[in-house]
């Protein structure tokens, strides 16, 4: 606990940074980030998607400058698939060299806690080799590679401090689990053998039977459409896990037309669909596709 700060605190330099190790974003990258943000219907998710996009482009720019010897493949990453950008507040499935990365974005970590979506820890299709924290200074259009955590290190930490889930489908991790030296991240990416980091591939989370989810969604449609609540407030984690690991479900959630309270400058890009009809048509079991990620 700290006292109310002195009334005469005069430290001017409380939120200033020298700009030496920041990555500058170009107007082009900013434009693309804005465009990407428009692919998700919910206004609140739009800002997060925008920041995640800035983080992704900044991260790629950083690799461009420091390590053009590393191959980057972003074609399968969650940010570029609107249904998943809509559901997960992170950039999953980014391939750098032999490793799979997940980028977590924020404007600040000054309270020394990193918040990660539950999906990137519990659901194998979304679990990376390396979690990377990327700080986005949106006002200045700069990005900082803040820190990273290998999956093997996460597992080790969890053995002594098991993670507690929050009510909104996230885990909070102590920032000191992360290595804040981005040069060491490059060392691992360039030189470490992939076998050094094991990713879970077979864990099967508890899932809700599809008919149950369908029923729940029918009841919740008004709330889903008004976007006043996040999914985590309306559904259980088992429901959420089911949606995330079933591409058809994920797409269906994405298609739910969202009403906007404030006047939008763009026409709604998502045509209204007759949801109850759609649900009826889908009463037979859905085909199993390969995981979307």
């Amino acid at each position: 606990m700290i006292n109310q700060p002195p009334a005469h605190s005069t430290d001017l330099i409380d939120w200033g940074f020298p700009l030496l190790d920041r990555i500058e974003l170009s107007p082009d990258q900013i434009d693309r980030a804005v465009q990407l943000s428009q692919t998700v219907p919910n206004a609140i998710r739009q800002w997060q998607t925008y920041l995640n996009a800035l983080a992704l482009f900044g991260f790629q720019e950083w690799l461009d400058e420091r390590a053009p010897d590393l191959e980057v493949v972003d074609t399968h990453c969650s940010l570029l698939q609107p249904a998943y950008a809509n559901l997960i507040d992170a950039v999953c499935n980014l391939h750098v060299g032999p490793f799979i990365l997940c980028l977590i974005t924020a404007g600040t970590w000054m309270d020394a806690i990193a918040t990660l979506p539950k999906a990137v820890i519990d659901l194998p299709p979304f679990v990376p080799h390396i979690y990377t924290l990327v700080r986005v200074l949106e006002e200045q259009m700069q990005v900082q590679i803040y820190g990273y955590l290998r999956h093997d290190q996460l597992v080790e930490h969890q053995q002594s401090s098991p993670l507690q889930a929050t009510s909104n489908w996230t885990y909070t991790l102590p920032l000191n689990w992360f290595n804040l030296n981005s040069t060491e991240l490059l060392l691992d990416l360039r030189c470490l053998q992939p076998a050094a980091i094991l990713r879970p591939t077979t864990a099967s989370p508890e899932r809700t039977p599809i008919p149950q989810i369908q029923a729940r969604f029918t009841n919740l449609l008004p709330q889903l459409r008004s976007a006043t609540h996040s999914l985590s407030q309306l559904l259980t984690w088992e429901d959420g896990a089911t949606i995330l690991t079933d591409p058809e479900l994920a797409n269906w959630v994405y298609q739910i037309p969202v009403e906007t309270r404030l006047i939008a400058s763009l026409p709604n890009p998502h045509p209204a669909i007759n949801v109850s009809l759609w649900l009826r048509d889908r009463s037979t079991p859905w085909p199993r596709n390969s995981p979307g990620c």
Partner: protein
Amino acid sequence: MGSASRYWRLVRIDAAGQRKAEEIAIAKAFFHQQFADLVSQSAAPDAQIQKELIRLLRDESVSGDSNNLHTTQPAARTGTRSTADNTLENRELAAYCLRCFISHEIEQACVRLESTFGIQHGFTRYDVFPLVLNDDGQARSANNSSQYRSLASEILQTFDPDRAGLSTWVARQVRQHRELHQFLLEHGVYLASDWAILNDTSPDQLRRILSDFHALTRVEIEQDCHLLQGYHEVYRRDRLQQRQAGILKGKEECRTPTPDQLTRIAQSLNQQAHLNLSNERIMSRLQAIATQLRHYRIYVRGGAFPIKSLDDDPTQAIAGEMQAPEPAADFEEQNEFLAFYREQFRNCLDQAIEQVTSDRVTYLERKRQQGQPFLNALHLFHCQGRSMAEIAAEIGLQAQFQVSRLIKLKEFRADIRQRLLNLLGDRILDKARDYADPSRLRDLDQRVEAALDEQVSTVFHAAAAAAAVAKHHPLNSLFARRLCLHLDTRRGAS
């Protein structure tokens, strides 16, 4: 907190740009008259003084027109005409005292900026003074708006002694000053605005942070979180829309919320959290939250600003090379495998140097047409032992930080080292054993770093080391030597 003389000595700059502290006689007399008992105290009670001065300044018992000597209502003290005269003069004098105090605070802010960023970023307090220390020292009526508007007068207009001390208010206004912000940006320093800070912080983070301030109740904290959420809903949406519409491009300062935005925030709060707040209340609460976030940041830093850029000054790290030669025998023991494969190690090193240098030149050329300056700077540093300041002058940059940013020495060396490790793994070392365990890999990285820093000549006197720094001798490590060879090859080839 300080002596009372701050209330009658005005700090300003004259026409020649010189800093002066003038004693304003009438302000001094006025202060002695109003605060006779406080003058002798070594630490003047600022809050009390400022409250009283503000009260005198804003005394409404006389109308604003300086020519109108009639009172519209009985004055608080007496109703005589001479008192009306005194009250008007009192306002002017109270303003004078406050302006003096403000000038000291503004000067302090400039001094702090200089001490934190000045050397690396190439500016002094004198560069900053003209932007903010612009009170001309003339006596004037506090209310006449057609006259010269200094930063001090802006500060006086908006200051509310019930909300914060004047020092805090001055610091806030200086920090938000647009021209200063611009100046700092041009010199590579970014001070985030309140509205950016609010944008960057999530309600969950705010809740955790505010819970550390024990003077706040749970209800207040929840209210603040709702408020932040409402702010995000409106402000972020607008900002994104403006970017989309092309109204905002690139770096754009987060401006103060408009009345329309405040109204919409109020609406959202009403709908979402059943809170009824006026626009003014919303604005002042948001500013208070931003201030609390700033305080928290200072608190977690232990009060000191971490001057990361100076700590990481590569020139210091590399100068250290020259003072610590490793005796040849120890080195051999530590790095026996490297010693055994010495020639191959050197070949891999040369290759890594060539790869990374080429990649950097390509990138810098493509981004900012700075390929050649980069090479020149590298050469000047490693092969001629020049300082950052000298290099800046030679390659046409204005400040050290620009050179640091151009060559990023630590990163350059790290990248060469890592690519060297890759090559060694392919050719010499047992990848399966040494590269499959993160801690072994780090250990290897450190040993390679030691090898690169090895002094090529083991006979290296302390005197020579000192002389080399002064007299522009090349750096003497293995790394520097091979790099200089490569740079010479490039020059010869081009």
